[in-house]
C-alpha cells in the first residue's frame, strides 16, 4: 500500500496482445524526470497527450496507471474541465471538454497546482467591481 492508502500500481506497459506503441513507459519516465526537476529547480512541466502517438487503449492504460489522488475539481468554463491530482502528488491530469463534453485537449501538468485552477487577476478585478456595485446598490435601496 502507498502512503495515501491506495494500492501500489504494478506498471504494465500493455495488456497481452493489445496494440502498443511502447510509448507508455518512456512517458512515465518523463513524468518521473519532471517531478525531480520540480523538486530541485521548481520547474513546471506540461505534457500534451495529443502530441504523443498512442495505440487504442493505451491512453486508458496510462490513466489507470496514474490513478486518482486526493483532489478532483470540475471547472465550468465554456464547457467543463476536469482537474485531477493523480496518485502521484504534483502530477495533475487536466482534461478540457467542449459544451458537448467532447474532449478538446488533455494534458499532464507537473506542478503544485495547475494555473487554470487558481483565480486569475483579471477575474478577481472584475469580481471586485461587481461586489462594489452590489454593495453600492444595496446602500442606495436601503
Amino acid at each position: 500500500m502507498t502512503a495515501n492508502g491506495m494500492p501500489a500500481p504494478g506498471f504494465a506497459a500493455s495488456a497481452p496482445c493489445a496494440p502498443a506503441t511502447g510509448n507508455l513507459v518512456p512517458l512515465m519516465h518523463e513524468i518521473r524526470h519532471a517531478l525531480t526537476r520540480w523538486l530541485e529547480q521548481g520547474e513546471k512541466r506540461v505534457i500534451d497527450l495529443r502530441s504523443i502517438p498512442l495505440a487504442p487503449g493505451e491512453e486508458d492504460r496510462l490513466l489507470e496507471q496514474l490513478g486518482e489522488g486526493e483532489v478532483t475539481a470540475r471547472l465550468s468554463i465554456q464547457g467543463p474541465s476536469d482537474i485531477i491530482e493523480t496518485r502521484y502528488p504534483g502530477v495533475w491530469l487536466v482534461t478540457h471538454y467542449d459544451e458537448n463534453e467532447s474532449i478538446m485537449g488533455r494534458f499532464i501538468e507537473v506542478c503544485e497546482v495547475p494555473g487554470i485552477l487558481t483565480s486569475q487577476a483579471d477575474d478577481i478585478r472584475a469580481g471586485l467591481e461587481r461586489l462594489k456595485d452590489q454593495l453600492s446598490n444595496a446602500e442606495t435601496t436601503a
Binding site: 496494440p19 506540461v46 495529443r50 502517438p53 498512442l54 495505440a55
Partner: protein
C-alpha cells in the same frame, strides 16, 4: 464583434472569464501542435488581435472541405467566425445569395484591400473557363481579382493545393492549383481530401497568431505536415518487427499489424492524422483498419492504386523491414544504423509490386 476592438476587449465586454480564455489558448496550442510552453505567447497575441476579414472562394470542389471545417470541435467554426475572424464571404455558409452575396464580397475587398485573407477550396479549370463559373465570373478571373488584394492565401484541400480529383488523369477541365496561377502572394497549402477540421482552423489561428508559418517544400505548414503518417503511427512498431496484415481479414489484420502490404501510403504521406485524428480525436483510417490513401500528397488519385503496396525491395520485407517509397528511400527513425547499407542496396533494386505479388512472396 467590432473589427476595431481587440479579441481581449471583446471577451472582457462579454463577461468571458480569463480562465475560459486560457482554456481556449491551451486547446488551441494543442490543436496547432505547439508545445504547451507557447500557451502564454498565444494568449498574449490573441488578446491584442483585431479580427481580419476573410474571403472564402469555392471553385471545382465537392464541399467536403467546408463540411470538414464545420465539424471542427476544437476552436470551432463558431469560435473562429465570431471571435477571431470576420468571414465576409463563403457561398455555403453565408445567408446572402445571388447579387447580394457578390456585393458582400466586393465590399469586403474594398474595405480591407491589401489586408484580407483569401481562403480557396477547389481547383481552377485551366482549359475552358466555362467549366466553372460563379455569378457569371470564371473561377480563374475571380481568383485573380480577389487574390490581388489579399495579404495571403490559404489553399484548403488537395484540389486547391495540388489540383486534387479534378486534376486526376485525364484531367478533363485542365484543372490547376492556386499556386499554379498565383505567383506573387504568400500561399499556405492545407491539403487533404478533406483536410482534418482542426488542421484547417489550426492553420488559420496559427496564421493570425504568428503570421506565415514555417512551410515544407510543398507549401504545407510544418506544424501539421512535418511528420509522416508512418512515423507517428501506433502500428509502426509492427512494421519494425516485420509483422504485416496480408489481407483485410487475416490474423495480422485482427491483431492490428502494419497495413503496409495492403497499400498503406503512410510512409510517403505527411499529415497529422495519426496524432490529431478525426471525429473529435476518436480515430483515423489506419486505426479503423484501412490503409492510408495518401490524400495530402500531390496526385494521390494517380499513385497506382489505393491497395497496391508502395515499391519495396525484392528481399523478404518481413526480415529486412526496409522499403523504397515512390519518392525514393524514406529513412525511418527507428531503423538501426546497421540497416543503412542494405537500404541503399534496396533503393537500387526497388521495383513496384502488386498485392498479389506480395501474397506470393509471404
Amino acid at each position: 464583434m467590432s473589427k476595431d476592438k481587440t479579441l481581449g476587449e471583446t471577451l472582457q465586454e462579454r463577461g468571458v472569464s480569463r480562465r475560459s480564455f486560457l482554456k481556449f489558448c491551451a486547446t488551441t496550442a494543442s490543436m496547432m501542435a505547439l508545445p504547451p510552453a507557447m500557451i502564454p505567447v498565444i494568449a498574449a497575441t490573441l488578446e491584442k488581435l483585431r479580427r481580419p476579414s476573410v474571403i472564402w472562394l469555392s471553385f471545382q470542389e465537392c464541399t467536403g472541405c467546408t463540411e470538414s471545417l464545420t465539424r471542427s470541435h476544437s476552436a470551432t467554426i463558431e469560435d473562429l467566425i465570431f471571435n477571431t475572424i470576420s468571414l465576409d464571404y463563403h457561398h455555403t455558409l453565408q445567408a446572402a445569395s445571388g447579387s447580394a452575396a457578390e456585393q458582400a464580397r466586393e465590399e469586403a475587398m474594398q474595405e480591407n484591400y491589401g489586408n484580407y485573407i483569401l481562403v480557396v477550396d477547389g481547383s481552377i479549370p485551366g482549359e475552358n473557363n466555362g467549366y466553372s463559373t460563379i455569378a457569371g465570373i470564371s473561377n480563374k478571373d475571380m481568383l485573380l481579382e480577389v487574390a490581388a488584394g489579399a495579404a495571403a492565401i490559404v489553399a484548403v484541400g488537395s484540389c486547391a493545393a495540388f489540383g486534387g480529383l479534378p486534376h486526376a488523369d485525364p484531367n478533363p477541365t485542365g484543372a490547376v492549383s492556386v499556386s499554379d496561377l498565383i505567383k506573387d502572394k504568400p500561399i499556405v497549402n492545407v491539403p487533404g481530401c478533406p483536410p482534418i477540421p482542426a488542421v484547417i482552423t489550426g492553420v488559420l489561428v496559427q496564421f493570425l497568431t504568428f503570421g506565415l508559418p514555417e512551410l515544407d517544400q510543398l507549401g504545407r505548414p510544418a506544424a501539421f505536415y512535418g511528420n509522416s503518417i508512418h512515423d507517428r503511427c501506433y502500428r509502426r512498431p509492427f512494421y519494425d518487427k516485420g509483422l504485416f496484415a496480408n489481407s483485410f481479414d487475416d490474423e495480422g489484420a485482427k491483431k492490428g499489424w502494419c497495413l503496409f502490404k495492403l497499400g498503406c501510403k503512410g510512409p510517403t504521406t505527411y499529415n497529422a492524422c495519426a496524432t490529431t485524428k478525426w471525429n473529435d480525436g476518436t480515430s483515423f483510417p489506419i486505426e479503423a483498419g484501412h490503409p492510408c490513401l495518401g490524400c495530402s500528397e500531390p496526385d494521390f488519385w494517380d499513385a497506382g492504386g489505393f491497395y497496391k503496396a508502395l515499391s519495396i525491395p525484392t528481399e523478404d520485407i518481413g526480415k529486412t523491414a526496409v522499403y523504397a517509397g515512390t519518392a525514393g528511400l524514406i529513412a525511418g527513425a527507428a531503423l538501426g544504423a546497421s540497416l543503412r547499407a542494405r537500404k541503399q542496396s534496396a533503393v537500387k533494386n526497388h521495383e513496384r509490386v502488386t498485392i498479389d505479388d506480395l501474397d506470393e512472396e509471404s
